[in-house]
């Protein structure tokens, strides 16, 4: 069946902010879908609250709404746009849930809008676990024994039937939020309560445990004619019990005979039919008992997913693009495989091995358990491609950027004895004593039986670094069989790791690193740095040796067909084979280094920038060569760049690409400033290796990063910054802090996202902090120097993004933070243009930014952070590179900063591009951060200098109050219209609290407050009911939060003790989904929004980005 002509306009829903379980893979799928539908001639309307996405680029589709993804907003957009159809299968769970809500509220039928891609019944059957089980039973498929419980008693009764351990899965949650394992009746109550609280329907599935079973996923596609293909099979290296998003996974499946595999394929086909997925991509998960082969269906997602993004990258088959076309009527046989030009109705076959390895961020959440289970915790992932599993595994391990250069031994940096005692705790910078200085033995003692036993105990529990510990256990002499017994990891994978370990031993033992040994080691996947470490050489020396022997990486193509047909798409990976298919072009070209795995502090924003660099270069007719290893991204779509290398971002891997690309055509240079810290760290070594970098010089970057050179720069320009010092060790730190005066802001130099950054109010806190901070710096591979700054209390923080061409600079946007200085800029709420700064101050800030850009000779992007206190402007930080806020500024102003910057880096000038400072917009845009606290039980939600948000949303409106209200809604906070407000503030905020209370009371709220705060409010003759702090005994504030008698929480606090005491208030507000504010400015902004909403009673107002931008242009 060809294209449906009864549809003209199609609305596509995105997945909203990046959260754990829903990341930029949906930007990838949404972008693909939007492009595909536009190409087919449909008018596409797009809704997504996340400004950091490529899909929300105003050039991509006709109308782009950056608005909250909730029913009222979507209803308003649908009423305004009147699309013919709604496509909800490319925007993750968020889009599916919204589609169901819109269907149930009758909006779709009232407006005559068809749901395409998935029908309501199919979505329900796939999502509701009982309906799913019933459907499987009807189809003759087995699923785990289980039952649904709405209470602890019901759960207990079911568990008695299935036997312990049981798995708990709350209904309708993202990434398995609220899930867990109860090993015995004693654990059941608390875990069921938690699970029930997380489920929007208050329901939990209690299920037989399949711990130790093998886990497989099939990525499948079906069309209206019931044509069905499997795009990819994925085998989880971690057996059942670890969420698939947290598992190391391998494609294709490695340990199935054909019969066993075909059984899964048949089952997946039946699942698709039974659930009723008429068209599109889905994911079906199976558990297989390794002892008997018994197959259970675990779940299916009737939409594209994280796994389908992985499958697309792993095979070259663009699932989302095909799914979008199938949704509008095409069948598979009518579509073409882009890579080979043959039919899209086939199953990709691959002649390499793909490994996905998740990246975690437990260190950001002190107090959380660094343990993996059925609830997803990872914040990002890498994918690697190798000709064999060991090669792919080594490449994945070095792609992760966790300070390891492959599957190396951690014995010199992990105290395994201590880890065995307390395997999963994360240190809390605030509360914990500094770790005892661990004696660093000059040589590691030889492995002993004790060590073996210790490691075998450690690896029995799944943790983020388990595979490293597994390798260490094998190195210590544990047998593959024994490791299999304790971990459940298939022997095949373990034996391959043992193979790597044996190769290490040969490398260590060999008298000489001869050509054969070197070639063999490279072919097995060992990186130069690994070989160097094992041989006691430098990486450069290994590279020199490779040059001498002519041992170079070769490049192979990802072609969907195992070379059966020629590939016309240059989608490449490296290996050490005989033949090379790189075939570089004879064009002028630029290599862009991507951002690697998503992590807190470096996420989708940088991928957005890299994509724009690609777009810019292509517009200039320069070949754009992309390098990245993150399968979730748009940058690793083979469609995005001219040439794509799916490779680790290490010196060795990048140099190999440079060597290949420079062999033909003209390599103009490499862009390292767009992908965040990942490529930036390579700047100096690349330059040293003779590679030309484009844009701002490495020296300028160093001038901005190096404290002393930075000071010199500022004093040359007559700019001011908070007093500061540098310290190495506790004694120096103490001295510097005393001379500056407390409070001080401390952090290790050269780290990302405020990693291990802390405000110390007194000396004891500083002392406790220093040891941990140095450790953190070392883990991240940074220097061990501490930066100590004066902390400006209650200062306003401001961010500026600009673009320079070496001769002049234009201001992209000035953003005022709502939270006071001290909250990490990545976590704070930003307002563009500034909502409460004096025009003169803004002018000063812009002048200073421009002066810095010129002095540094910035060619490309630069971000400057300022603090404003009592009318004075302080420079906090200068980053001559892409910043996290670039996409937000671009969406808010309609000016694609990253693209402009890339053109400038490629040789254009601001003059040649005809660019001046843009006018201040006639609207206000607010960027709000989104946090993963719900996924980390026991973690405090208070904001601080260490960044912890995973994503962001944007609210855009005619006033700051309206825009802030939208951004809160987009972040999932629904402000209450009435009820009780709880206020408890630190001394310094008392005066503001009185104002706040007055305004809330005027809006009809009753005020509850802790004693001190209540007294302050009452003194202003505003009624406030005192309520006990937790320490003061029941009934206390947490009781009130839990029983639903508080609707909004305002709680500011400082100092370790006060923070600890008030922790449970914030935590419970989070758990009970009550809006909470931990800074006074944010609370005041929320009240501004409430006033606008409640007093003026305006209905939901929506407008597309294109309209906002046009309005601003007209107002010029």
């Amino acid at each position: 069946m060809p294209r449906r002509d009864d549809l003209h306009k199609i609305l596509l829903i995105g997945s909203g902010p990046i959260v754990i379980g829903q990341a930029c893979e949906f930007d990838y799928s949404g972008t693909q879908g939007a492009k595909a539908l536009t190409t087919l001639g449909y008018e596409v309307v797009l809704v997504n609250s996340n400004p950091a996405t490529i899909m929300t680029d105003p050039e991509l589709v006709r109308r782009t709404y950056v608005e909250p993804l909730d029913r009222p907003t979507l209803t308003a957009i649908l009423e305004r746009e009147r699309p013919d159809a709604l496509l909800p299968t490319l925007g993750g769970q968020t889009a599916l849930n919204l589609a169901i809500e819109l269907h149930e509220s009758g909006v779709l039928s009232r407006l005559g809008i068809k749901l395409i891609g998935a029908q309501v019944d199919a979505i329900r059957k796939a999502e509701d676990r009982q309906l799913f089980k019933d459907a499987m039973a009807r189809a003759g498929l087995e699923s785990p024994r289980s039952g649904h419980a709405k209470s602890v008693d019901e759960a207990r009764a079911i568990a008695e039937r299935t036997g312990y351990p049981v798995i708990l899965r709350p209904s309708f949650t993202l990434g398995g939020a609220g899930g867990g394992v109860a090993h015995h009746p004693g654990e059941l109550t608390a875990k069921v309560e938690w699970a029930l609280s997380q489920s929007p329907t208050g329901e939990v599935l209690v299920e037989e445990s399949l711990l130790g079973w093998k886990e497989y996923e099939l990525e499948v596609i079906r069309d209206v004619k019931d044509n069905f293909i499997v795009v990819c099979t994925i085998e989880n290296l971690d057996p059942m019990g670890v969420h698939t998003g947290d598992s190391i996974t391998v494609a294709p499946a490695m340990t199935l005979t054909d019969r066993e595999y075909q059984r899964l394929r048949d089952a997946a086909r039946v699942v698709m039919r039974e659930i009723g997925v008429e068209t599109g991509g889905s994911n079906v998960q199976f558990a297989v008992d390794p002892r008997t082969g018994r197959v259970l269906v675990i779940e299916m997602n009737p939409r594209v997913s994280r796994s389908s993004a992985l499958a697309s990258k792993a095979t070259g088959y663009p699932i989302a693009k095909i799914a979008a076309k199938l949704a509008v009527g095409f069948t598979l046989d009518e579509l073409e495989n882009d890579i080979t030009g043959t039919s899209a109705a086939f199953e990709p076959t691959i002649d390499y091995v793909v490994v996905k390895w998740p990246r975690f961020a437990f260190e950001k959440f002190p107090g959380s358990e660094a343990r993996l289970g059925t609830q997803m915790k990872s914040v990002g992932e890498v994918m690697s491609i190798g000709r064999t599993f060991p090669e792919a595994l080594e490449k994945a391990a070095r792609s992760l950027e966790t300070g390891k250069h492959g599957l190396e031994s951690l014995r010199d940096r992990v105290d395994y004895e201590a880890l065995a005692e307390e395997p999963t705790s994360t240190r809390d910078l605030r509360h914990d004593a500094p770790p005892a200085a661990r004696p660093r033995a000059p040589s590691i003692p030889p492995p002993s039986a004790d060590l073996r036993a210790t490691l075998e105990r450690i690896i029995a529990r799944p943790t983020p670094e388990r595979l490293f510990h597994v390798a260490d256990a094998l190195r210590a002499g544990s047998s593959v069989e024994r490791v299999h017994e304790v971990t459940g990891i298939d022997r095949w994978f373990l034996e391959q790791i043992a193979r790597l370990v044996r190769q290490e031993a040969r490398l260590t033992a060999a008298a000489e690193l001869d050509e054969e040994l070197l070639r063999e080691s490279k072919r097995l996947g060992l990186g130069d740095r690994r070989i160097a470490a094992l041989r006691g050489m430098t990486e450069d020396a290994v590279r020199a040796l490779r040059d001498r022997f002519g041992v170079h990486a070769t490049f192979q193509r990802v072609d969907t067909c195992a070379a059966e047909f020629p590939a016309r798409t240059p989608y490449l990976y490296s290996s050490h084979e005989r033949a090379d298919e790189c075939e570089p072009s004879d064009r002028r070209k630029v290599i862009i280094l991507g951002g690697g795995p998503n992590r807190i502090g470096q996420g989708i924003e940088f991928d957005y920038c890299c994509c724009h660099a690609v777009f810019a270069l292509r517009e200039l007719g320069i070949e754009a060569v992309m390098v990245n290893c993150n399968p979730e991204t748009v940058s690793t779509d083979y469609d995005t760049s001219d040439r794509l290398y799916f490779e680790p971002l290490t010196l060795e891997d990048v140099l190999a690409i440079v060597r290949a690309e420079a062999s033909r055509g003209e390599l103009l240079g490499v862009i390292v400033q767009f992908g965040g810290q990942t490529p930036l760290r390579l700047a100096v070594p690349l330059e040293r290796a003779g590679v030309r970098l484009l844009g701002t010089s490495a020296d300028a970057i160093d001038r901005a990063e190096d404290r002393e050179r930075f000071d010199a720069l500022l004093s040359k320009l007559g700019l001011v910054r908070p007093r500061a010092g540098v310290a190495r060790g506790v004694d120096e730190a103490r001295e510097v802090a005393r001379s500056i005066g407390y409070p001080v802001l401390v952090r290790p130099s050269y780290v990302l996202g405020g990693r291990a950054m802390m405000i110390c109010y007194e000396e004891s806190e500083l002392e406790a902090y220093v040891g941990i901070a140095i450790e953190a710096a070392r883990e991240e591979g940074g220097s061990q120097v501490l930066l100590i700054d004066e902390f400006l209390r209650n200062a306003v923080e401001v961010d500026v993004d600009c673009v320079g061409d070496g001769r002049r600079a234009i201001i992209g946007g000035v953003m005022q933070h709502i939270e006071e200085a001290g909250v990490h800029s990545g976590d704070s709420t930003s307002v563009l243009p500034p909502h409460s700064l004096d025009a003169e101050v803004v002018r000063t800030i812009e002048q200073q930014a421009r002066a810095l850009a010129l002095e540094l000779g910035v060619v490309g992007l630069m971000n400057v952070q300022f603090a404003v206190k009592d009318g004075s402007v302080y420079v906090l930080e200068v980053n001559p590179r892409a910043s996290r806020t670039v996409p937000f500024v671009s969406k808010a102003t309609g000016r694609p900063l990253a693209k402009i910057a890339a053109k400038v880096m490629a040789g254009e000038t601001l003059d040649s591009l005809g660019l001046e400072d843009g006018p201040v917009p006639t609207h206000v845009a607010v960027k709000e951060s989104v946090f993963p606290f719900g996924k980390f039980p026991g973690v405090d939600t208070i904001l601080g200098p260490e960044m912890r948000s995973t994503g962001e949303v944007m609210g855009i409106a005619t006033s700051a109050a309206l825009a802030f209200g939208k951004s809160l809604a987009a972040a999932g906070f629904q402000l209450p219209e009435r009820g009780r407000a709880f206020i408890s503030v630190r001394e310094a905020d008392k005066a503001a609290a009185v104002q706040l209370a007055r305004r809330l009371r005027n809006l009809g709220f009753a005020i509850l407050a802790t004693r001190g705060t209540a007294e302050a409010i009452q003194r202003a003759r505003i009624p406030a009911t005192p309520i006990n702090k937790v320490l003061e005994g029941s009934p206390h504030v947490v009781d009130a939060v839990m029983d639903g008698s508080i609707q909004i929480v305002i709680n500011t606090t400082e100092g370790a003790k006060a923070i600890r005491d008030s922790y449970s208030i914030r935590r419970n507000a989070l758990l009970h989904n009550i809006p909470y504010f931990t800074t006074m400015p944010a609370a005041l902004a929320a009240v501004d929004s409430l006033e606008v909403a409640l007093l003026s009673g305006t209905a939901v107002q929506v407008r597309s980005l294109q309209e906002w931008h046009a309005r601003a242009r007209e107002a010029r």
């Binding site: 069905f228 340990t255 059984r263 086909r269 086939f346 199953e347 091995v353 298939d490 070379a563 059966e564």
Partner: protein
């Protein structure tokens, strides 16, 4: 692993690919072909259609699940390939079904194999130059090339004689727990509702795969398997309800006796052919066959059923193909390969026969085309 002797895969055109000797230490000659299936190496090794061929696996990790007696496609359980070429043989066997490691089994069965080969490079070479004779062994490259050059071409080669049984036999084995419903609407065939035996089918065995025979049993056939040289009269004397033409190795045009036999059987009974059986049927109907550059071998080959318009993902293993233009008025092409537009199936209603080029019985491969067995049953019902 390094202790393994060096070996080469040498092609008749002089190209050589290094690796290490694995399996039986022997020198072996055959036509180098590649298959792109990611699973099913054991089925490939024991499929009689691969007789005389050196099979290159594009999937790099081979041997992971060892070998088990249930998955052999040769009825007698013996390997059929001339040699085996892989990138990375598994150092371990991991499957609850395994009875032996692949390496041991190859060595024990005398199959020469080579590991550590840049198989992708081999495939790209074969894709460009076409399938050709080759040799694997530990000798000098020059020696191996000479032996490859000395081997006879696959074209014009009757290999059926090597694999057809010496005498007729009854085949009664079922797919048992691995049975999948033929209609693809349900998942598993219910063994409790085993179909009663309804038809007697005579299968001409040109090198039949075991799973074809099992599928016929599951369909409800009493199955008499007869040697390729059985005459039409002898076939009919068995009073079959239907006749089956099996798969097999080599050039169909070289098996003149079988073509003649089939020509005699046309219209006598409903007839169903698979792979070589399909080609022989086409030749019997007066059509021609020709050799593809490098053949279709894999488990992901898209075929469109021209009757229903639906696409099947099929298991294929053929170097020769029926020239669709040479099909007379009596037959029509029923299935189309979506990648290169070649014909993958035919039917001749007057002659009461139909056949497909691909492998509906799968093993290895997807089960999308099992319905064809039902179609054979229906044809016998209408007889």
């Amino acid at each position: 692993m390094t202790a393994r002797p060096r070996a080469h895969l040498a092609l008749a055109d002089g190209t050589a690919f290094p690796g290490f000797s694995w399996g039986a230490e022997a020198t072996s000659v055959g036509e180098a072909v590649f298959t792109t299936g990611m699973t099913g190496y054991q089925e490939v090794l024991t499929d009689p259609s691969y007789t005389g061929q050196l099979v290159v696996m594009t999937a790099p990790q081979i041997g992971n699940t060892g070998v088990n007696s249930a998955d052999h496609e040769h009825v007698g359980g013996r390997p059929q390939v001339a040699g085996f070429v892989v990138r990375d043989p598994s150092p371990v066997t991991s499957s609850h079904r395994a009875e032996e490691s692949l390496g041991e089994w190859l060595a024990r069965s005398g199959v020469a194999a080579i590991g550590g080969v840049d198989t992708r490079a081999v495939v790209r070479h074969l894709r460009e130059t076409g399938a050709q004779n080759a040799c694997i062994g530990t000798g000098s490259v020059a020696e191996l090339v000479d032996r490859a050059r000395a081997a006879p071409s696959m074209e014009g080669l009757d290999l059926v004689e090597r694999v057809t049984p010496a005498a007729p036999y009854e085949f009664t084995e079922s797919r048992a727990e691995w049975s999948t419903a033929f209609d693809a609407q349900r998942l598993f065939h219910d063994p409790a509702r085993q179909r009663p035996t309804r038809w007697h089918v005579v299968a001409l065995d040109f090198g039949a795969k075991r799973n074809i025979l099992r599928c016929l049993v599951d369909l409800g056939c009493r199955l008499t398997v007869v040697p390729a040289r059985t005459s039409a009269a002898d076939v009919l004397a068995l009073r079959p309800d239907g006749i089956f033409l099996s798969n097999g190795p080599g050039d169909p045009a070289a098996v003149g006796h079988a073509i003649a036999t089939i020509r005699e059987l046309l219209g006598q009974r409903p007839m169903f052919g698979i792979c070589l059986g399909h080609q022989l049927l086409a030749l019997a109907l007066g059509a021609r066959t020709y050799k593809l550059k490098f053949g279709h071998r894999g488990l992901n080959q898209p075929v469109k059923d021209l009757t229903t318009g639906r696409v099947e993902i099929t298991s294929q293993n053929h170097g020769f193909v029926v020239d669709v233009g040479s099909l007379g008025a009596a037959a029509r092409s029923t299935h189309l390969h979506l990648n290169d537009g070649t014909s993958e199936g035919l039917e001749a209603p007057e002659a009461r026969c139909f056949s497909v080029q691909y492998h509906p019985e799968a093993a290895a491969g997807p089960h999308d085309a099992l319905y064809l067995f039902e179609r054979f049953g229906a044809a016998m019902d209408h007889a």
